[in-house]
């Protein structure tokens, strides 16, 4: 008894056993390097001097010819093969028709049963107000008016249509892919190199094959855009789902969630902000393909840019290029504002998820002016209507929007954007004068440099 109560020595600091992670197996770097070196030497010994000479202008190697043969075969098969004709052909036709339908109704300037510029402007403003808020509505209206004044109405709306169709297809394909990748390491390691290829392969390299499969036109432009715009969405979705806090996932599992419940009620809501960033990046990537899509007769602002490039008309290229930039800003701010609005509690979105998730977003977007996202950099939200009040206002505003759409089908002035080049001040913003000014400045700079 007494032994247990003897005056204890000064308690020695107890050494803490820290959990050790499993050691990685030794890497055997030296041996791997030797193997690589051996393979390299072997390849050099057997392939030395074969097809390594500098090619003359029109010379081809076996590899070139093999690809060209493949192209010819595809072209021949394309006539009646079940895959090329049946599957790809159907997809191409469907996409072409769908884009054509939207073009007819929104961007074309044929008066008649089709909605003209005034109606499009009113409907776009109404939709933006419903989804994102007043600031976004002003931004959207300003950008659309710039397109109209600049004489870029049709091309600008075509760009919007192609981009939005491409982004919707990206979301339909990309979200499930991202979910699959976050769930299975194997899927992830299989798809990652594919995404790498899609993202880094120069678009000019797959321009021709895709145009062979889908024919030139909107369908080809959309597929081109898909190839480039899909990877960021898939990657960011995967990352967003993987970065959902382990604590929360574990808590969910301890309550007995199924995989589907975990995804729908824990992971997706918590990764939502990141996924919206992914959709934004996808949209930006899609817009950056506008010019290249013009090379395969894709409709949109790429066309005037390419045409201006061929005549070295810097001014015209800049005016159209600015159109693309404004559309990009408009889409980014509007989608961001829309996602913030739908977040619970309105202003508390910043706290959702771990701060780490937003690293990429901060880098890319924080530096751009954030005026049009509803928070406008003020940290807090402006006073808002109650949900019921908002619905009432929205309903009331739908009437003038529909009226505008109706009248734009009846009156030429509301259907075709008027030519404002004669109007003072505003006239300076139309394509001709604005392009002219830019050309003047460029010339002045060039002259000053070349002396």
């Amino acid at each position: 008894m007494t032994t247990t109560l003897e005056p204890a020595r000064t308690p020695a600091p107890i050494e803490e056993e820290q959990p050790r992670t499993v050691l990685p197996p030794s890497r055997r770097t030296g041996r791997k390097l030797l193997v690589v070196l051996a393979l390299w030497l072997l390849a050099w010994a057997t392939l030395r001097g074969r097809q390594t000479l500098v090619l003359a202008n029109a010379d081809t190697t076996g590899l070139h010819e093999w690809f060209n043969d493949l192209r010819d075969k595809v072209q021949v098969l394309g006539q009646d093969n079940w895959f090329f004709h049946g599957v790809l052909g159907t997809v191409a036709t469907a996409l072409d028709d769908f884009v054509g339908f939207l073009q007819d109704h929104l961007s074309a300037v044929t008066p008649g049963d089709y909605v003209g510029w005034f109606g499009v402007l009113a409907l776009a403003a109404w939709v933006t107000y419903g989804l994102a808020g007043l600031r976004s509505t002003l931004l959207v209206s300003a950008v659309l008016l710039y397109l109209g004044v600049g004489g870029l109405w049709t091309d600008g709306l075509d760009t919007l249509i192609v981009t939005l169709v491409a982004v919707v297809i990206c979301i339909v394909i990309g979200l499930p892919l991202g979910i699959a990748m976050s769930r299975s390491r194997r899927t992830s390691s299989l798809l990652t190199p594919v995404l790498d290829v899609m993202q880094t392969m120069p678009s000019f390299a797959y321009l021709t094959p895709i145009s062979l499969f889908f024919g030139i036109g909107p369908a080809c432009a959309i597929v081109l855009t898909l190839v480039y715009a899909l990877p960021p969405l898939v990657r960011i979705t995967e990352h967003g789902l993987n970065s959902v806090g382990e604590n929360t996932v574990e808590a969910g599992r301890s309550l007995g969630v199924t995989k589907g419940q975990l995804l729908r009620q824990v992971q997706l809501p918590m990764a939502k902000r990141t996924i919206v960033v992914g959709i934004n990046q996808c949209t930006m990537a899609a817009l950056s393909m506008a010019t290249i899509a013009a090379l395969v007769n894709g409709p949109g602002l790429g066309k005037p840019v390419v045409a201006a490039l061929q005549t070295l008309n810097v001014g015209a290229a800049s005016v159209a290029g600015l159109g693309i930039v404004f559309i990009a800003i408009m889409l980014d701010r509007t989608t961001t504002a829309a996602s913030e609005r739908s977040a619970p509690g309105g202003q508390r979105v910043a706290a959702v998820g771990s701060p780490g998730i937003f690293g990429g977003r901060t880098l890319v977007l924080e530096k751009l002016p954030r005026w049009a996202t509803e928070e406008g950099g003020r940290g807090a939200t402006a006073k808002r209507l109650t949900p019921g009040g908002r619905r009432l206002v929205l309903g009331a505003l739908l009437v003038p929007a529909l009226l505008a759409a109706f009248y734009s089908t009846r009156y030429l002035q509301l259907s075709e954007f008027p030519d404002l080049s004669g109007v003072p001040v505003i006239g300076e913003l139309t394509a001709g004068p604005l392009g002219g000014h830019i050309n003047d400045i460029t010339d002045a700079v060039v002259n000053a440099i070349s002396g």
Binding site: E17, G252, L255, A343
Partner: protein, 367 residues
């Protein structure tokens, strides 16, 4: 004396069907193909030796214990001792490498995914160190989440969640989001969520380690209160000895993934199983924990202390001190049946109290 402790430690109640939770021979070895190691001499190696040899890390080593219904069972150890792994093995949030877990007689380790989910939904719940709340849901919906997962309709789960809100003292905060609450209040939400499903067993994984000391004390009181009110069986993980002594009916001390000692608080203090436990408990004020059973001696003669009042042997020394010191001679100690089991005198009491004062450098510590 030591015999008693060993006795309790190695032979927990042997009838698994009467215990709320029965763990037998539980192992967790981290590393590839760890299950192949079970039964091989490799598992006799120490953690360091095994890791050096094959890269496997022993998380939990051959742990067996029973928890009686309504008991608060505390698992204590320093970080890395395997206690958090152990609590996750019980509900298979981490798959055990070997061993069995019986929860109210059901073998969790033999269950398929579907059955296991059902157990997690109804029989056992868990409170986490970092709360694990859903930031996009209001407090009330966080609490109702477990009920929603098991398919209860909205009205029923809202009603039940509201009861839980009132039970843990969160009334008025139902419509707030978790990040609008302080840490202590967030943990109350975690507590309410765990209680909402009316489980048989509740697990706590260092629930108060992330809270500041004052809030921690409040929450400990809260757990004691809830235990009195709802009487759940609780498995409580902590690295804080004071917390373990305060809450635990019995305490399991772990080191390097293995059990060092299992026993009631006074057994841990009065008869530490080895140097490790002795070091661990060195700074605990012994008079607050030890009972008269630990300080009494055999009466020199049959009538020693006959004149003084008798005290039960479960009285804590600190509480008995005044009565013993006030008595003229030795005081009798009786067990629950009233039989005299020993006597204590001033010296026995002072040895416990004074040794502490002498022991600690600061005069304020101790009593």
């Amino acid at each position: 004396m030591t015999d008693l402790a060993v006795d309790r430690a190695t032979t927990p109640e042997t009838d698994p069907s009467s215990s709320a939770l029965c763990v037998r021979g539980l192992w967790k070895v981290f590393g590839p193909n760890a299950e192949k190691l079970v039964g091989t001499p490799d598992l006799e190696l120490s953690r360091q030796e095994l890791q050096a040899k094959s890269g496997h890390v022993i998380g939990v080593r051959d742990v067996s214990f029973d928890v009686a219904p309504g008991e608060v069972f505390v698992v204590m150890g320093l970080s890395g001792s395997g206690k958090s792994t152990l609590v996750r093995l019980i509900t298979r949030l981490i798959e055990p490498t070997a061993g069995t877990v019986l929860l109210g007689g059901d073998d969790l380790t033999a269950m398929g995914e579907e059955q296991l989910r059902e157990i997690r939904r109804r029989k056992v719940s868990m409170v986490f160190q970092h709360f694990g709340l859903l930031p996009h849901r209001k407090v009330i919906d966080n609490i109702a989440f477990g009920l929603e997962v098991r398919g209860e309709d909205k009205g029923a789960r809202r009603g039940r969640a509201q009861e839980m809100v009132d039970l843990v003292g969160l009334s008025g905060y139902e419509q707030n989001y978790p990040d609008q609450l302080s840490g202590g209040m967030q943990q109350r939400v975690g507590l309410a969520r765990a209680l909402a499903g009316d489980p048989a067993v509740m697990m706590f994984d260092e629930p108060f380690s992330a809270l500041d000391p004052l809030i921690r004390r409040d929450m400990q009181k809260e757990v004691i209160r809830l235990h009195h009110e709802v009487g759940k069986t609780m498995v409580f993980i902590t690295h804080d000895l004071d917390e373990a002594l305060k809450l635990g009916d019995r305490i399991l001390i772990m080191r390097d993934g293995a059990i060092v000692q299992v026993g009631a608080p006074d057994e841990i203090i009065g008869a530490p199983a080895d140097e490790y436990v002795r070091d661990f408990t060195a700074e605990v004020p012994k008079s607050h924990v030890l009972t008269l059973r630990w300080v009494m001696r055999q009466p020199a003669s049959a009538d020693e202390g006959a004149g003084a009042p008798a005290l039960p042997d479960t009285t804590v020394v600190r509480e008995a001190a005044r009565a013993v010191l006030a008595a003229d001679g030795p005081v009798r100690v009786v067990d629950s049946s009233g039989t005299v089991v020993g006597v204590v005198d001033d010296e026995d009491i002072l040895r416990v109290v004074v040794v502490e004062h002498h022991d600690d450098s600061s005069p304020a510590a101790g009593s």
